[in-house]
Every structure is written in structure tokens, then in C-alpha cells.
């Protein structure tokens, strides 16, 4: 069903309900346009970095940055229309019409661009959606050159050699900008009163189009990227009823969501091969110098899926101050996409469980033709609370979230690695399931009318299926104290301590996807941090002081220290501290200024051990890593008005300094570890200055200037230098820029 048809259906549903309203004589409607802003953007930027317009449209030209229309009619009729950035890539339009406390229709259209990188280079040409091809003569020439060198001296198939081969072709290759646009439509039709019964229909539709980088490698040693085609349609609808009184209320409904990928399979040519061949190792050149593999790769992109939810929420008062509330929902998520064959490489033969061979490109040889996956989620929460006398209150909470993956397990006799080789290792799908429960209580004490002390305890339990830990319990104790004596000062503080204990840790669980487990390949001493035993402390203190009616200070500090003390390998600790300070001064309505500073400090520690074919038992093969990052953020804002003039100034500066410090004891492999200082160092300075002049009560002229300077120094980008262009990565530009936008606009309002 098309978007337009769905919208039409929505509107048709509305008609009978509106028709039920008693007929009235025609009424008058008055409109106000407040404001319409007409402007001109003059934009400039010194690089092609996508970050400059990551989520925005800053192109030069005529703009209507803002438009607002308000209509009011007799009998509480209202009409609103608001628009921002009219007709641009980041436009938004919101329309509302209805009768207050009777019914209302809201339609919101929101365009959200997301740009990942500009000017990527690729040899491919997209011949149809999701099909990337390289001219056969180019593929053949590169394959021939590789084969020739392979025969002469395979050891010389290195990146410099590949770079030399590919450079002439890349010099004439095309560019590709990577990014997507979300076109969202959100319509809501509601009927009923705040008190009593009401119901509403929500409908959301999103078209998402564009592309993003996709890893499309043909082997272990090299890497190739193609732009993953994004062409999605997402529809959500919710029908809900609500009944509310002073004493109790319920809300119930049905929600469904569908995701459709209009390009579900992507194909791309192998830049280094025209014809398919097998490769016993899939270690393509360089490295071992192997040059086999498939002439074409393919990927099963995001599968179509559905979700249906029934839900009910309720609340009621139980006597004087006690209340009970809860919610329950049941969600069924399904996915039943047709499965693709093991490979498109005709030179590969599959080997079945009985050791007979079959055509691995034949989809009929799969043990199942469709994914047939289903997950059922039961969610339940309840809360009861109330006062214990004049100074104390008590709250009990219970939550249950049961994720039951009911998908059947499918056994595959093997799989094709990198489109190059059949691996005769039988695998079986693993429907991970889990149940999470929270049981907690909080006792509050109003120490004074303006001070509250609260003590809470929560027990969070996990039960998992197919993972390393079957069950875990986490005890969390929290104390909080808030006070605001008088109107000049407020303090909020809390301290929380958690202790998660686990049952047996079974590294063998990682082998659950093997029909015949081959033996544990992860380090036995590793504990995956999301399920490992841990202790944590967390605190939060913030204070605000209004020194005078005009001057206020804010200071806050928060911290969280996590320790995974039973983890010999993996994440061992993770500590975060944040500091905040703000000064605000507003002596009169026509002048205010604020200044804030924030520091974010994070340090994590992880340990590993390098192994060959089997897990190493040599402590000298250990290596550990301390990752530190400090981000300082400052902001300044100033607004001043004098007669007809208004000036606004905003400045924001954020700088992150990250460091990766490694250590490895001598004597093992590795026996030396070298740190680096560009663990994502990022700096952004954004300045905005604006001056407006009120021409008359209904017209205002303004000039604005935005200036931004962005730099990124990342080890991930530096690592590319050793590989390009032979790695055939897209390497789009999402790096440094300095850009500015000059805005001239005229704001009008009229009836």
C-alpha cells in the first residue's frame, strides 16, 4: 500500500468520527502568520568534508528558514502550520487541525539527511540498484597482471605492487558521495477528552534512501568497499484507546511495524578477478599472495521484518496517597526472508553432511529456503507506592522482560568463506534468549519540607540461553539526597553501588553454533563484560546557587567506576568522571549571558593475549591497553537588547584528546607494544553571531554569521595510508573543514 493510500485511509477513518459531532453554523476563522522569515544563505567551506553538512542543508541560496501560521476559530477550532527550512534537504513541516479537547489531526513531515562522506573513489559503476560492476577488460587486465606476478614471484605481490596496478584506473574512476535521507511522515489523529475516554491513531512512514560504506572484502588480507544501497520503507501504525479519571486510568492498544528493504541483495565485481576460482585459504593478496576467489561477491542486506505489539498500561489510586501502576505488552517480531545460496562462485562445490558434493550456487541445496525467525517478547512492569505517615514514602517496583527467540535451529553442512572456499565445518543457528527481571524498593524520608533522603535497593537478574553465563544477579543500593532550602540554593546528590555475581562461566558456549564443537578458541580467562561479574560505584552531585536574582552558579560532578575483577582478559575496568560548571547572569530582560565548562574523563583498561592456532598459555604473549580520552567543552551565550536592536552571540568549543597506551611483557609474541596519541582526537569550534533590527512591530531584519572549524586526527584514518589505493576502499572525506554561512533575512508577521 502506498504512502498516499495509507494517508487517505487514515483520513477516511477520521470522517465518521468528525461527522458525529453536532452540526453548527459556519464559524469564522482568523489567521496569524507569525513569522515568515525570508532569507539568503551564502555558504562557503574549504574542503569536501561531509561533516559540514552531516545532518543539515547549508547550501547557498534563497531560504525560508521559518514559517508559522496560526488559525483560531470559534468553538476552539485551531489550525497550525509550522515549517522550517522550506524545500531544503532538512525541511520540516508540521500541520495541525482540530477542536481542542475534541479531536485533533497532526501531520508532520521531517526530512533528515545523514551524510557519511563525500567524494569516495570507486572503480565500480552501479548498473542497477545494488549491482556494482567493473568493466570486464579492467577485471581481466588486473587478473592477468596478478597471475603473471604470481607465477614469477608471488612474494612481490605487496601493497605497493597492488597500488601500482590500480592507480591508473582509479585516476579516471568516478566519485561517490555517501549518505542517506530519511523522509518521515508522522500522522496522528486523536479523539476524546483529557478526562474520560479518548482514542488515537498514529501512523508513521519513512522512506530512507541513499548509501553508506559497506565492507565487501574478498579475503583476509585485503579490504574492499562498496556503497551499500539503502532503499527502505518503514511503516508503523498504532491504534490506542485511553480512559482517564482522577482516580484511575488505562491505556491499551495495538501497534504494528513493518520494515521493507527494496534492495535486499547487493552484487559487486571482484576488482582483481574476472573469473571465479577457488582459493584454499581465502588469504587473498597481498600477504600470502594468494590470488584465487570469486569474480563476483554478493551480500544479503537487511531482511524485511515485522513487529506486532499489544499493550496495556494502567494506574489507580489505592486510598489516600497510595497508588498502583503497571504496564504489560506482548511483542512478536518475525523475519522470513528467502535465503540466498551459499555462493555465486560456480567453481566451489559444497560438501553435504554425508560427504556428497553439491552445487553451492543452487539455493535448493540449502537446508531451509527461508529464515523463518520469530521472537516473542513479554514485558511486564508494576509499581506500587505511597506515604508511610507524614514524612516517609515507600515504593516497590517489578519489571520483567522476556526475550524468547522461538526460531528453529537450522543446521548447515558448511559455509563459503569470502566467496572463495567451502569450509566443511557444519554450523547451526543459535536462537539466543534471555529473561531480565528487576525487583526493587525505595524508602523516602522528607527530612524537612525541602529535603528528601531516599534509600533504594534493586535486584536485577538475568537468565540466558546459549550464552557463557546462564544466570547472574546484580545487587544495587542507592542513596540520594536532594535539598532546596529557600529559593536560592538547591543540591542534588546520589550514590549508587552495584555488585553483579555470576554463576559458572562457560567458554564452551561460544561453540554453540558448531554442530560438532571444535574446541574453545577464546581465552578461558576472558569474561565478556556485558555478562561478567562486576562491581561499580556511581555518584552524582550537583549544586545550584542563585547568588542574586540575576546571578546563578551551577556546579556538578558525576562519576562511575566499573571493575570487572574476575576478568583476567577482556575489559577489566572502565572509569568515567565528568565535571560541570556554569555561570549565568541575567540582570534584566534585555541582557543575559552564560558561560559553561565541562570536562569528560574516561579511562578503560583491557587485557588480551595473542595466540596462534590454539589459545596461548604463555603470559609473555599478553598485551594490555589503557584507553584514555579527555573531552573539554566550553560554551558561551549572550543576548543583549537595546531599543530596536537585538544581538545574540553563541560560542561552543569541544576538544577531545585520546591516547592509547599499550604494554606487552618482553619475551613473547608480541614482545613490544607501541602506543599512539591519535585515539580519535577531535576539535570543533562553532561560533554564531546574529544581530536583528526591529523595523516595526511586525517586521524584523537580521544578519547572522555562523563559523565552524572542525579537525579530526584518528588512528583509523592514519592506518589507511599504508593501504590506499590498493585496498580499494571508498575513502570518502569526512575530515577537517572550516566553513561559514552568512545569513540575511527578513521576518514578518501579520494577520
Amino acid at each position: 500500500m502506498s504512502t498516499h493510500r495509507k494517508l487517505a485511509l487514515l483520513l477516511l477513518i477520521a470522517l465518521p468520527a468528525t461527522a458525529q459531532e453536532p452540526a453548527q453554523e459556519p464559524r469564522s476563522f482568523t489567521f496569524t502568520v507569525d513569522p515568515i522569515v525570508l532569507g539568503i544563505f551564502e555558504s562557503s567551506v574549504d574542503t569536501g568534508s561531509s561533516k559540514w553538512e552531516e545532518y543539515r542543508d547549508r547550501s547557498s541560496g534563497f531560504v525560508i528558514p521559518r514559517l508559522g501560521i496560526e488559525g483560531r476559530g470559534d468553538g476552539d477550532r485551531f489550525l497550525t502550520f509550522r515549517a522550517t527550512n522550506v524545500r531544503r534537504d532538512d525541511a520540516r513541516y508540521t500541520f495541525g487541525y482540530g477542536v481542542l479537547d475534541r479531536w485533533a489531526l497532526t501531520v508532520d513531515s521531517n526530512k533528515i539527511p545523514h551524510r557519511f562522506g563525500n567524494d569516495g573513489r570507486m572503480l565500480f559503476t552501479q548498473t542497477s540498484p545494488g549491482v556494482y560492476q567493473i568493466a570486464d577488460p579492467v577485471q581481466l587486465a588486473l587478473q592477468t597482471a596478478l597471475e603473471k606476478q604470481f607465477a614469477a614471484n608471488r612474494a612481490l605481490i605487496t601493497f605497493p605492487f597492488l597500488n601500482g596496478l590500480i592507480s591508473p584506473y582509479l585516476a579516471t574512476a568516478g566519485f561517490v558521495d555517501l549518505g542517506l535521507e530519511r523522509d518521515r511522515l508522522n500522522a496522528n489523529l486523536g479523539f476524546g477528552s483529557l478526562r474520560g475516554f479518548s482514542w488515537g491513531l498514529d501512523y508513521k512512514h519513512e522512506d530512507r534512501d541513499g548509501n553508506r560504506p559497506y565492507g565487501a572484502s574478498f579475503g583476509f588480507s585485503n579490504a574492499t568497499e562498496v556503497p551499500e544501497v539503502i532503499d527502505y520503507s518503514i511503516d508503523d501504525a498504532e491504534l490506542a484507546g485511553s480512559w482517564s479519571t482522577d482516580r484511575a486510568g488505562v491505556r491499551f492498544g495495538y501497534r504494528m511495524s513493518t520494515f521493507r528493504n527494496n534492495v535486499s541483495t547487493m552484487y559487486w565485481d571482484n576488482p582483481w578477478r574476472l573469473t571465479g576460482a577457488t582459493d584454499p585459504s581465502a588469504y587473498t593478496a597481498p600477504g600470502s599472495g594468494s590470488i584465487g576467489g570469486s569474480g563476483v561477491g554478493f551480500a544479503d542486506l537487511w531482511a524485511d521484518n515485522e513487529s506486532t505489539v499489544v499493550f496495556a498500561d494502567g494506574r489507580t489510586r489505592l486510598g489516600s496517597s497510595w497508588y498502583a501502576q503497571g504496564s504489560v505488552s506482548y511483542n512478536t517480531m518475525t523475519q522470513d526472508d528467502p535465503l540466498l545460496p551459499y555462493t555465486l562462485n560456480p567453481s566451489i562445490q559444497g560438501i553435504d553432511f554425508d560427504h556428497s558434493t553439491f552445487d553451492a550456487t543452487d539455493v535448493n541445496k540449502l537446508p531451509a529456503r527461508n529464515a523463518d525467525n520469530e521472537v516473542n517478547v513479554t514485558n511486564l512492569s508494576a509499581q506500587v507506592g505511597g506515604d508511610l505517615g507524614p514524612a516517609f514514602d515507600l515504593t516497590f517496583r517489578y519489571r520483567l522482560y522476556d526475550y524468547d527467540n522461538a526460531s528453529k535451529r537450522i543446521e548447515f553442512p558448511g559455509y563459503v568463506r569470502y566467496h572463495a572456499v567451502w569450509e566443511e565445518i557444519a554450523r547451526i543457528t543459535v536462537p539466543f534468549s534471555y529473561t531480565k527481571t528487576d525487583l526493587g524498593a525505595e524508602l523516602g524520608w522528607d527530612v524537612t519540607p525541602s529535603s528528601r533522603l531516599a534509600l533504594s535497593y534493586n535486584l536485577q537478574s538475568w537468565d540466558r540461553e546459549f550464552r557463557e553465563i546462564d544466570s547472574s544477579d546484580e545487587d544495587v543500593v542507592k542513596v540520594s539526597f536532594d535539598t532546596h532550602p529557600g529559593t536560592r540554593f538547591s543540591l542534588r546528590s546520589s550514590y549508587e553501588s552495584g555488585d553483579r555475581s555470576i554463576g559458572d562461566y562457560s567458554p564452551e558456549a561460544a561453540e554453540n553454533s558448531f554442530v560438532e564443537p571444535e574446541g574453545v578458541t577464546n581465552l578461558p580467562g576472558l569474561r565478556k563484560y556485558d555478562e561478567a561479574a562486576r562491581e561499580y560505584d556511581q555518584f552524582n552531585v550537583s549544586a545550584q546557587l542563585f547568588a542574586t536574582d540575576a546571578l546563578s552558579f551551577f556546579f556538578g560532578v558525576t562519576g562511575r567506576d566499573e571493575d570487572y575483577k574476575e576478568s583476567r582478559f577482556g575489559l577489566v575496568s572502565d572509569d568515567v568522571k565528568q565535571y560541570n560548571a556554569e555561570l549565568a547572569y541575567a540582570p534584566r530582560d534585555t541582557f543575559n549571558v552564560y558561560l559553561f565548562g565541562h570536562r569528560f574523563d574516561r579511562e578503560s583498561f583491557q587485557r588480551s593475549r595473542q595466540s596462534g592456532a590454539t589459545p596461548s598459555t604463555n603470559p609473555q604473549d599478553d598485551w594490555d591497553l589503557t584507553l584514555g580520552e579527555t573531552t573539554d567543552t566550553f560554551g558561551l551565550g549572550l543576548t543583549a537588547k537595546a531599543r530596536a536592536w537585538t544581538a545574540d552571540l553563541q560560542a561552543n568549543y569541544s576538544k577531545t584528546d585520546g591516547n592509547a597506551d599499550f604494554f606487552s611483557p618482553p619475551g613473547g609474541t608480541p614482545d613490544l607494544a607501541v602506543g599512539f596519541g591519535d585515539y580519535e582526537d577531535v576539535e570543533l569550534l562553532a561560533l554564531l553571531a546574529r544581530v536583528d533590527y526591529q523595523l516595526n512591530p511586525r517586521a524584523k531584519a537580521g544578519v547572522g554569521y555562523r563559523w565552524e572549524d572542525y579537525t579530526i586526527d584518528s588512528f583509523l584514518l592514519r592506518g589507511l595510508r599504508n593501504y590506499l589505493p590498493g585496498a580499494l576502499l571508498l575513502n570518502p572525506d569526512y575530515g577537517d573543514y572550516t566553513g561559514s554561512v552568512l545569513t540575511l533575512d527578513l521576518s514578518l508577521s501579520f494577520d
Binding site: H4, T18, A19, K51, Y55, G75, D76, R77, V99, D101, L105, I112, L194, G215, A216, F220, A223, E225, Y232, I234, S242, S244, R251, S257, A299, D300, N305, S307, G326, N331, M333, D337, P341, R399, Y401, Y403, N405, V416, R417, V430, H484, S513, K528, G570, S608, S611, G612, A613, L625, T633, S654, T656, F662, S664, P670, V674, G675, F676, E680, G719
Partner: protein
């Protein structure tokens, strides 16, 4: 000919909703009940809204055009201004006595909320009582202003929703200035798209049964379930991502490949050291420490539907 027919069909498709909208608006023009007339004689203790307006005319100006200045409000609140402020006859008789001023902000946060909840207790406000904001002593007026609001919608104290939230959640304000972030500071999504500040039954007041269910509402492509699953992905997106801002691509809490290596220290390449020497020396260079690192090859890290991708490659 076929092209013409398709074009006509497409035009009809475009026309249908427009016609529906037109009909709907035509019906809607006669679609309300007659407003009830305000009470003529205030009950004992009450002064009546007209008396209030005689001194507080500017408030009437502010309220005009808002739901609290509408006929609907009159229907729901029988005593006009005094429906919220309480009986004010004593105040009108002795307006200079500060004790007699019916100032709502003098009441406790709990009482203020109770007042607002006499109407706003359903829908999104259903779980205010017992919610985090309520239990930490916030009142409705901490964020909203009935008489002097500055926002286009929801009568907020500040011009935008994000300003209200960040006036307390200052850590989040700084997070949003990091390189990788959701488009909140660009105004394309708002805090309330993910959180319900009026309370919810889930932690962090999110608007879904779990973090993942919330993320799927925008990232439905990741919802699956897939043939080959990555267990931590299904349990919580927050195992690998931070929602408010990061300086690592894709809102990762730690950059790849080290994020992956916090769980995967397996034999061969997952447990191998990728350090500064790997970056500096081409002879030791590795494709596991450039570009998108592990995900250069394990492109389907959120789950794969391909029979040949048990390792979540393509």
C-alpha cells in the same frame, strides 16, 4: 499508453488524500460542541475569573490562544482561573497580603503536580506519579509555564524542548557536541522522541519496553531476528553504543577494533595486538586497524541472514 495510465493512476493517488483532507476539513468545520457558558455567580470563596482579569489582564493576554484560555478549559475547569489557583475571594479583598496570594508555586511539587494531573493524568502523563522526575522533587512548573511560556508547543519555559532538558542534564549537553551524535542539536530529533519526561515504567524514562525496542523504532533494519545473531546486540544496544555522543564512529563507546577485542580475544586475528607500530610500519601493517577496522569484513555485526555468514561477514 501504459505510461499515461501509470501517470493518471499516480495523480489519482495524490488526489485521494487531498480530497479526503478537504472533506475532513469540511466536516470538521461543524465538529464541536457548543461551549458551556461560564458560571455567572461564583460560589462562596471564589472571586470569578472576571475579577482576576481586572488586575491580571496581561495573563489573559498570554493565555489567549492556548488551551488554558479556551472554551474547552472552561468545560473541564468549572472555576476558571481559580480551578488551578484555588478560591481567591480573600485575595481580591486584600490583594497586598502575600499570604493570601493564590500562588501555585508556593505549593509543594507534589501538590502542584496533583493539580495539573486533575486533567493531565492520561496518555503521556499516566506514569508521572512514582516517576523519576516526580520522586526527585520536580513539579510540572519546573519545565512548563502556563502564563509565560516561550516555546511553540507544550508551553515550555524555554524556547525549545532541548533547552529545558539540558538546563538540568548538563552532561548530556556536552556529549552532544561530540563528533558522532544523534541530530538533536541540529533540531531534527528531540529528547522526547526517546524519553518520556512525564515518567515511564522503564529505566531512564525511555518510551519503550527496552532500550533495543526504542532503538528499533528508528533503526528497524536492525530489528531482525536474523539467521545468525550476535547475542550482546540483542540484549542491549548500549553494550557497544552510547546514545548521546561519542568521538568514535557510529556512537561507539570505545573505538573499533578495541571495542570488539574487549570480548573477542580468540586465536589468530581477534586476539592479535594492533598497536602504534602496526600503524607506523607498512611491513607490519594490518587491515584490522584502519577505516572501520573489524567491520570492514564483519559487515553484518548486528546480525546476518546469509547461510555463509556465521561470522557475521557479508
Amino acid at each position: 499508453m501504459t505510461g499515461n495510465r501509470e501517470e493518471i493512476t499516480m495523480r489519482l493517488h495524490r488526489l485521494v488524500p487531498a480530497l479526503c483532507a478537504a472533506v475532513l476539513l469540511a466536516f470538521a468545520g461543524r465538529a464541536w460542541a457548543a461551549p458551556q457558558a461560564p458560571e455567572s455567580t461564583p460560589p462562596p470563596g471564589y472571586a470569578g475569573s472576571d475579577v482576576c482579569m481586572a488586575c491580571h489582564g496581561e495573563v489573559a493576554g498570554h493565555l489567549a490562544g492556548t488551551p488554558h484560555g479556551s472554551k474547552a478549559f472552561e468545560r473541564l475547569a468549572a472555576h476558571g482561573c481559580e480551578s488551578c489557583h484555588g478560591p481567591a475571594a480573600a485575595h481580591t479583598e486584600n490583594p497586598d497580603d502575600p499570604v493570601l496570594r493564590p500562588d501555585i508555586t508556593k505549593r509543594s511539587a507534589q501538590d502542584q503536580a496533583k493539580l495539573c494531573q486533575s486533567c493531565h493524568s492520561g496518555r503521556q502523563q499516566m506514569f508521572w506519579q512514582g516517576g523519576v522526575h516526580a520522586s526527585r522533587g520536580l513539579a510540572c512548573q519546573s519545565c512548563h509555564s502556563i502564563h509565560s511560556f516561550k516555546s511553540d508547543r507544550a508551553q515550555l519555559r524555554t524556547a525549545s524542548e532541548i533547552d529545558v532538558c539540558l538546563s538540568c542534564h548538563k552532561d548530556v549537553r556536552a556529549e552532544m557536541w561530540k563528533s558522532s551524535h544523534h541530530p538533536v542539536r541540529e533540531g531534527k530529533i528531540a529528547c522526547a522522541d526517546c524519553h518520556n519526561p512525564h515518567g515511564s515504567t522503564t529505566a531512564k524514562m525511555i518510551k519503550a519496553a527496552s532500550v533495543n525496542d526504542l532503538c528499533y523504532s528508528c533503526h528497524a533494519d536492525k530489528r531482525g531476528p536474523f539467521l545468525w545473531e550476535h547475542a550482546p546486540v540483542r540484549e542491549s544496544c548500549l553494550n557497544c553504543h552510547v546514545p548521546h555522543g561519542s568521538n568514535h564512529i557510529k556512537l561507539q563507546k570505545t573505538s573499533v577494533p578495541y571495542l570488539c577485542q574487549q570480548c573477542h580475544a580468540n586465536t589468530r586475528h581477534p586476539g592479535t595486538l594492533y598497536d602504534g607500530a602496526t600503524l607506523a610500519d607498512q611491513s607490519r601493517a594490518s587491515n584490522r586497524i584502519f577505516n572501520r577496522a573489524c567491520t570492514d569484513c564483519h559487515a553484518a555485526v548486528h546480525g546476518s541472514n546469509h547461510p555463509s555468514s556465521p561470522y557475521l561477514g557479508h
